[in-house]
Symmetry: C2
Subunit: 323 residues, 2 copies
């Protein structure tokens, strides 16, 4: 569920009064998303998404996120375009939260991933990386390799209650992954959270195209190939956790047709995938052990990523992960 903060109609009216968007027509909460409160907003001039940024987002970082989105839209990418109010500012405040209005994107996120989604995904990700190349400001990846050890420390006391021996296993995996972490790979701005619910598709079932990429609030500046590793985790496993190498190959091939992968990037795919699996395992584990029962947040099962991590730890070559 993704409405944590409600907005009174007077407050909404006052907020919309700062924009040249016409009159309010409709306003509904959007179910998708877990970090922020999102509303679909219709005015007499069109459709938009209003986001209230909740406590997990650092307000000081919002100008970077909105700046990147603006830059990517200028570069031709179908991502939410921040809408500026009459004073020229896109980042504002509403109901005590930082808030912004962005353009509405058509399309449907795939509730069930099919092989046909993967080539358009790979191509769109490569275009995202290219379009971001000339955006000068950078943002460190707070959930990158340097963040994993501190995160594991914060799970140490309660982690073994989720599965006996889990913390010891993660200590070993973390040490191995950090020791093998590649240096010198191409860097740039990455999405870092490109799960299926952040990618909209349109078109025929046999030939879908990407109509939108959303939710840039984990975006950062890091190894470009790490974004591929996130997608290999998020898009390429069957419901029974078997790895679908056909999907992986389709994505990597389509990506490389737009932005060729260097040999070092390709060789690093297994360890990058291990790192990405560990990142999602650790954040889910942290949420799992720190979410009080009955809280309105849906906890995601951390052990799903333990299975993915084990698969990637067993992958001894780029080929094994579709490279």
């Amino acid at each position: 569920m993704a409405v944590y903060t409600e907005v009174s109609d007077e407050a909404l009216r006052g907020y919309l009064g700062e924009y040249d968007l016409g009159e309010l027509v409709a306003f509904r909460g959007i179910a998708e998303g877990v970090e922020n409160s999102n509303f679909s907003l219709r005015t007499t001039t069109g459709d938009f998404v209003l986001t209230l940024y909740e406590k997990r987002v650092d307000p000081a970082e919002l100008p970077w996120f909105l700046g990147l989105m603006d830059h990517l839209v200028q570069g031709g990418l179908a991502c939410p375009a921040p809408v500026r109010a009459r004073d020229g500012q896109a980042l504002r405040a509403l109901a005590g939260r930082p808030a912004a209005i962005c353009s509405f994107l058509p399309g449907v996120w795939p509730r069930r991933v099919r092989p046909e989604h993967l080539a358009p995904l790979g191509e769109a990700l490569a275009r995202l990386h290219l379009a971001g190349a000339d955006f000068p400001p950078t943002r460190a990846n707070a959930l990158g390799p340097a963040g994993w050890a501190p995160l594991l420390e914060r799970c140490r006391a309660d982690g073994d209650a989720v599965q006996p021996g889990l913390i010891g296993l993660l200590d070993g995996a973390l040490a191995a992954i950090l020791a093998a972490w590649p240096a010198g790979l191409p860097r740039g701005h990455i999405h870092a959270d490109l799960f299926p619910d952040n990618v909209f598709f349109l078109g025929p079932a046999a030939d879908p195209h990407v109509s939108g990429i959303i939710d840039f609030y984990f975006a950062c500046t890091d190894l470009l190939a790490y974004d591929l590793a996130v997608c290999l985790n998020a898009w390429c496993f069957e419901p029974d956790y078997s790895f679908n190498v056909t999907r992986a190959r389709a994505m990597l091939r389509a990506y490389a047709a737009v932005r060729p992968l260097g040999a070092a990037e390709r060789d690093a795919l297994p360890v990058l995938c291990q790192g990405a699996a560990l990142r999602f395992l650790l954040t889910r584990l942290f949420d799992w052990v720190n979410t009080p029962p009955g809280a309105m947040v849906t906890r995601k099962d951390p052990l799903e990523y333990l299975r993915k991590l084990r698969f990637f730890l067993s992958a001894d070559s780029a080929e094994a992960v579709g490279g």
Copy 2:
């Protein structure tokens, strides 16, 4: 959160193929609602809401609900119009659930009720009652007076854990309310759940109008004035549980201007309000003691309605509740 069932894009495509609604443009979960899964659906021909009916709704009753909505729309009420597929049927199946597409209604539900909302609410409720008058099929109110004792029984074992003495207090209130329950008042089809999130408004803040009434899945055939009692519970308390009689008067006056209230209906308002408070207290209490911690359903505090019940038990005349 109101997406319990996800729909794959192939299934959605197949489902839309049964309708003459054009091509799919967008599909997002709607955050509002607690009983069913709701999605906003845009096609090349317009905007709609797709509902998957979850386990609390008896599929055998869906034709009655959809028939009533259809009838109310024909009668000029702004409520969701069920859309028929090419075979003439509005009630279908999707993702293993009964499902229907209805028209999209513009407007914004009031996150914070203001006195200005109450007159339009009363007028719209009276119009709903009049428009329903010539819909012949009936549906018993499963959560009406006959349902309260069985519901209380199912809370008996655990209810006092929520508040010591609660069950004894409710036994006493139930007996008094049932003894005083009015006979012979005008009956008809009622909404029975007309909370603020089920009513959309548009227009200037000082003069809003009702642009839509939604969620008819508690509708039934019962005392018309009971719907007013539900609204007095749902719309007329301040956040500190003090009763705002100005709101109550505005609603009742506007209702009576469209459908005059008989003296017996007016006199019965306090006990009807007590009954409505008890109904929401009991269903919330039942959910509270029967929802496992960590379930995705947001439990609503039953004790909010204990405070409202106490207020209405102390109301010794129609005037005290705004009549």
